[in-house]
Symmetry: D2
Subunit: 260 residues, 4 copies
């Protein structure tokens, strides 16, 4: 069982009746339920309002894959939690960023860019096209599928060139968008998935649920986590792999830590 | 003329006689001089000790390419300057990170990873091999060249998979390393170049100077800078490119800014 | 001046009045004229019907960038010319494949995949979106532009993950497509540009002409061509860069050519 | 069980006593045995001398992952078998190219480049360094390991920029090389692994065996094969996903096949 945590800021669910109607158990509850139905994933949830946003170092160490949904409260996520999440990714935890999480702190930190885009909330039709058939994340996904009501996101999307572009979207209003992008940072697999606006029932959609389940399986790196992702050890001359004699000037004393 | 700034923390030059002997005008002075000799580049310098580290928003707006050398004082670089530099890169400024700048704040911020590595200061031989012949940065560079004394950097190097790997190093003590890496972030071209330890005369080496000159020409994006790299504009329904009618529920009022 | 050849199979121009009306001087003539108008490019043309398809080894050696349009007669291109073109690309010639050249022999050979897609010839609206703002190929190109009548190409497009995806298309009939893709093979830069169906006046469109001019400038590698792209030289032990003594068994006699 | 075929040209085993001493059951037999020991792989073998080189369309359809070793007889592999193998890869079969298979027909066809390199057969020490820690292919592999006697391969290696560079080599004689490269072509995962010269016992080395076992698990795409990788279907107007009316001129009659 892949240990998975669905993180949600859980703000709109408290304030908006339409969001509550779509997701009576919260977006996090809806997604976790569908992941658990796969039989291969053991998903729990965490929310912004919990202590430490529900994400201790201990819990992250025991999380194989984290999903992240946020929108109205990106700024309320503490920098410490953001740093912990990013370090966990570098050490091997998979992470899936959903929709408006393009502006989430850990997304921006892991990618290093502004992650901006254009947008329109008109409930228009979105049709997603697969560009990488038989990619593990697209297992069982048809070449195209539709979401009758979605928010529009438009290019240019301010992200680095991905490892793979696996989905692109067509919007009723005339835009196109790169909607499924994979990255790797350190030992961690990253997937960005565009759909998922809170005012529409996107996370109840069969194909969306299938993609997220596939994405968790894909993002899971079963190897032991890297212990210290920031380690930059000195290799002493006397332990060099080939015979070596000190030459030239030296700044560091033998065994001294490097600068940071 | 490509407007270039060579930034140097300029710390070891003040403290170490051997560094001062290698670089009487500072590492920044040595590099700027060699770039200016190309006839295509107009290089000036900036250092940590200057007000605002010598890097105002105005100066960055008028800089086509920035080179960055740092080692002992990464932590003394202000977060504000780091943010300004990264935004300038996203808007189209090229940037070249040299050697120990793998731990520089803007490098880590732009790449989003820990950028760690192993190291040994033994003055050993480094031999660099080109892996992308006829890459613009390698114009006139032989398939291999040697630096008789260099610090060793060893893999794994904690950076994202680059756009291109163009140089790899062989070290006398038995290590190998990816020494020339290109990235693009926003509209900005990024080059990481491994050699350049301050206790050796690396930046006086003909081929190193040639590579840095080539890299400045390559990194230069002559297009007008992107005005606001964080802009995420709403596209109103009435301005949609295809006919569109509002459907479904809405969270945002028309014309309202998006969440961040 | 960048020495450029616009290659066209020039078949529909002979058979179809509508194509002749769009391109009285042939697609090749129209494109060459617009490239020459840039003042930076010296473009000539070549067609399938000419001896050797107009492409001798000598001419390719003196060509900086080749553009390729083909559709009905891919199979009539000789394998020898295809091989010559591909070797020229590996040695440093830039190449731009236009529209239905996705099935051209050199495109398939350079990419190694089937390059298949879905299609519909309905004269529908295509809107192209830039996904890499300030990319050299997109200099002066707005974030989106429209072609009122184009053939539709649909995903999945059977090509390798590109170096960069710089344009994606929206189609009136509901499809989306990756329409501007960059690759590098050997020392040669490759650009695939989707629009350009012969029954529409696409190559008269200002923005299309601008993109093609930019693409020629981008694809141009000014360095000296690689002499023999297939060379795999033996490095004799006595010329090794570090001291080396023969150990273990040997299959090859010293100085012998390797197997192929 | 992952259905795996180890293909070997099996030429040196017949002619050279030293190769026979290293691999009494052939290189293919040695590799298949070690893969089978994993308990997750069911490996059989095929050789050049067998009818159709042991590779029928039926057998390839039932092969999850193919390993390929060749050296002296690349030219004896039939173009038909090469085409079948490449189509199988595009449809989803994984493939692992070993050592001198850098010049194998299917490797060159899938990558589209010359795949050349420099070489020296001196039995020198090779040390491989991992550049992508915790990559699935490197599960359980230390940051570096040594092969006391190997053939040297030197850069530049004439291959496209890979999806990932996961191993680089240090050679006693002074060269460095990108020794573990991943690619994806169509639905097929591709891994190139450098070591494996026939005059040395490389495929008996524990870490090499571990890497190859990992690589088979990684390359395996469990999804149903793509039926026709060359299919380029017309989408009729009356079946368009959005309402569409024929506009402009048409070259093709409705329902007609596209050109190739």
């Amino acid at each position: 069982m892949i240990r998975t945590v669905v993180w949600n800021e859980n703000v709109h669910e408290q304030k908006s009746q339409v969001v509550r109607d779509n997701y009576p158990d919260g977006i996090h509850g809806c997604i976790a339920k569908s992941l658990n139905a796969s039989g291969k994933i053991s998903a729990t949830t965490a929310t912004l309002q919990q202590e430490n946003h529900g994400l201790t170092a201990q819990r992250l160490a025991e999380t194989d894959v984290l999903l992240w949904w946020g929108h109205a409260a990106h700024g309320d996520v503490s920098d410490d939690v953001c740093d912990m999440v990013c370090d966990a990714v570098l050490s091997g935890m998979g992470i899936i960023f959903l929709h408006s999480a393009h502006f989430a702190k850990p997304f921006k930190k892991l990618l290093g860019t502004s992650c901006n885009l254009t947008w329109r909330e008109a409930g228009e039709r979105e049709r997603l096209w697969t560009t990488a058939p038989n990619h593990p994340i697209l297992d069982g996904v048809p070449h195209h599928f539709e979401l009758e009501n979605e928010e529009m996101y438009g290019e240019p999307f301010g992200v680095p060139e991905p490892l793979e572009t696996i989905l692109i979207s067509w919007f009723e209003g005339g835009e196109a968008f790169r909607s499924g992008l994979t990255y790797k940072r350190g030992a961690g697999n990253i997937f960005y998935f565009r759909p998922g606006h809170e005012t529409y029932p996107t996370f109840h959609h069969d194909t969306v649920q299938r993609i997220l389940t596939n994405a968790v399986l894909w993002a899971h790196n079963p190897q032991q986590r890297i212990a210290d992702v920031h380690d930059a050890p000195n290799v002493p001359i006397e332990k060099s792999l080939e015979p070596l004699t000190q030459r030239g000037a030296k700044l560091h004393r033998e065994g001294e830590d490097g600068f940071r």
